[in-house]
């Protein structure tokens, strides 16, 4: 396990380790500023691993590609939109605009398979405590905020975040091993209406939709 001063360094280091596919290294998990590397002791000497791993630089800002950006369409009809707006002292329309203007970064994936913790919530939208008690059922695709973060529920689950809306896209699916997001990726939300929601419903994040457009759009 290694701790970094910066979350983007942690995420980039984990990505660098995963991309090398070192023999015996099963996974590198970035979670905020910490990275845990899991290895198979039958395939690699765990005592020799830290030195080899630490020799891998955290390629922050290097490399030809940079972080992936996921564009996530959202129908902002969430149950908590009005209440959250009141609590934040802004208009619902401004809440949606600010949420869509922000560039979020995936700080960690956890809680549920494929559940992204998104940093970069605009200051005006921060400070909402989690709901007490949490909802017992939050629908799949719900986009929500709490504290200084946003999130997307990949599957129906209990949850205490404030629901702003829903994405029609599948953002993770255990049955098919579909997990497009990883710590360090960027996420932008795009407002859509009910018709577009219905047209995109059930498509996977990044998959071409029926009109031939690509999601991400543009």
């Amino acid at each position: 396990m290694a701790r970094f001063d910066r979350e983007d360094e942690a995420a980039a280091w984990a990505e660098a380790i995963r991309s090398r596919r070192l023999p015996g290294v099963l996974d590198a998990v970035a979670c905020f500023e910490t990275v845990a590397v899991f290895a198979d002791p039958d395939a690699v000497d765990p005592g020799a691993l830290p030195e080899r791993l630490l020799a891998i630089a955290s390629p922050i800002g290097q490399g030809p590609i940079g972080p992936r950006t996921h564009r996530v369409p959202v129908l902002y009809d969430g149950k908590d939109l009005d209440e959250a707006s009141r609590a934040l002292g802004i208009e619902p329309g401004d809440l949606v605009r600010l949420h869509c203007e922000a560039v979020f970064v995936v700080r960690a994936i956890g809680f549920l398979p494929g559940f992204p913790y998104l940093g970069g919530l605009p200051e005006a939208l921060t400070g909402l405590p989690r709901r007490q008690p949490p909802r017992t059922r939050v629908p799949a695709g719900s986009v929500a905020i709490a504290g200084s973060q946003s999130c997307i529920y990949p599957a129906e689950s209990p949850g205490g975040w404030h629901l702003l809306g829903r994405t029609p896209l599948v953002i993770a699916d255990l049955s098919s091993g579909f997990f497009p997001m990883v710590a360090g990726d960027l996420v932008r939300f795009e407002p859509i209406g009910p018709d577009r929601f219905d047209a995109l419903r059930g498509l996977r994040l990044g998959e071409p939709d029926r009109g031939g457009d690509l999601i991400p759009l543009r």
């Binding site: 990275v35 765990p46 994936i109």
Partner: protein
């Protein structure tokens, strides 16, 4: 008949699902960075043993039976095996009933009912079938956290085998009951106010499952900084929440916010899986180097057992086989270890 046709009709039907029976293999690897816990058999050692007795590789799916086994009907001839905690088991067939004692491999005929009782000690027993239980593979694994339901059918290909019970020497793992659980310092050990917390015994609470074991004991004080970000966690991790330790299980989430003060040595994870509510656990701190040594030793010992069993199951004769018992050896429950005191040749100590 194709394999698919056979799987549609052959297997086990759940007459009573037991307390918490799930299908397990060695779990999902490589998806932790996507938030997917590894899952898999909690006591992977007993899971491997059951598989070896059924003639399977370690990764075949078994049923993980917790505390109370349940009742299952064979819908075809099945070569099955039980290993792990000593669950009382009976096979009810048209001609009567017979007792089987784990660890054992034995055969079920179509219509036979396998009745698995409550565990007198330990928490987990594994039921393997030759070829493995053939439930759907999800992201590379059949491991599921959903307990079996009454009426459900668990597919398996038809197979048959004589009753085979390994000589105890084939399974020799140094006795560890009552020994403390060995732990190493966790990444948050410096947050402990009381560094000697592990000198107290703790009692396994009833709020324990594959996600984790909650322990009761003297409160453990930790300094928890506000807004502390979560960190990656792992099976065997020991978190402190509300002054109580939580021992994380194989189905625990991949990250957690409670201080991760210690980690159970991986060699002792199978024993953790056998801890049941009201058991008393003691802990002994060891160094990382010692934990790695224990891990190497235990993996070597496990490999040795599997190789010996493989040889025995593959080449007949090495396993005690009641059907080959000479006449006059007396009445005996099938699988009773009548050869327990016989010397074992070729015993290894690794």
């Amino acid at each position: 008949m194709t394999e698919r046709d056979e799987l549609a009709t052959s297997g086990l039907t759940v007459l009573h699902p037991g307390a918490w029976t799930t299908v397990q293999d060695l779990g999902r690897l490589g998806l932790r960075s996507r938030g997917v816990p590894p899952g898999g058999a909690f006591d992977s050692q007993s899971h491997e043993l059951a598989n070896a007795l059924a003639g399977n590789p370690p990764g075949a799916a078994t049923l993980e039976l917790v505390l109370l086994g349940g009742k299952f009907r064979a819908d075809g001839p099945l070569a099955v095996a039980l290993a792990g905690a000593p669950m009382p088991a009976r096979v009810l067939s048209g001609s009567g009933s017979r007792t089987v004692l784990p660890p054992i491999g034995f055969g079920l005929l179509p219509g036979d009912v396998l009745e698995l009782g409550g565990l007198p000690s330990g928490a987990r027993t594994y039921l393997a079938v030759r070829g493995g239980w053939r439930t759907p593979i999800v992201s590379g694994s059949r491991s599921s956290e959903r307990p079996l339901r009454e009426g459900e059918r668990i597919p398996a290909l038809p197979s048959s085998s004589p009753i085979r019970r390994p000589r105890p020497c084939l399974l020799a793992i140094p006795g560890q009951e009552g020994l403390p659980i060995r732990i190493i310092e966790g990444p948050d050990a410096e947050l402990l106010v009381d560094r000697d917390w592990h000198q107290n015994p703790f009692v396994v609470s009833s709020e324990s499952d594959r996600m984790g074991l909650r322990l009761d004991g003297p409160p453990i004080q930790v300094r928890t900084p506000p807004d502390r970000p979560s960190i990656p966690v792992l099976p065997g991790g020991i978190q402190v929440s509300g002054g109580r330790p939580i021992l994380l299980g194989v189905a625990a989430g991949t990250m957690g916010g409670y201080p991760l003060v210690a980690v159970v040595a991986s060699a002792d994870l199978p024993r953790l899986a056998q801890a049941r509510p009201r058991d008393v656990l003691r802990f002994a701190p060891i160094s990382l180097a010692e934990a790695r040594r224990l891990d190497r030793e235990s993996r070597r010992a496990r490999r040795g057992i599997l190789l010996r069993l493989e040889a025995a199951v593959g080449g007949a004769g090495t396993l005690a086989d009641p059907e080959r018992r000479p006449p006059g050896s007396g009445p005996s429950a099938e699988g009773e270890p009548s050869d327990r005191n016989r010397p074992c040749r070729g015993r290894e100590d690794g």
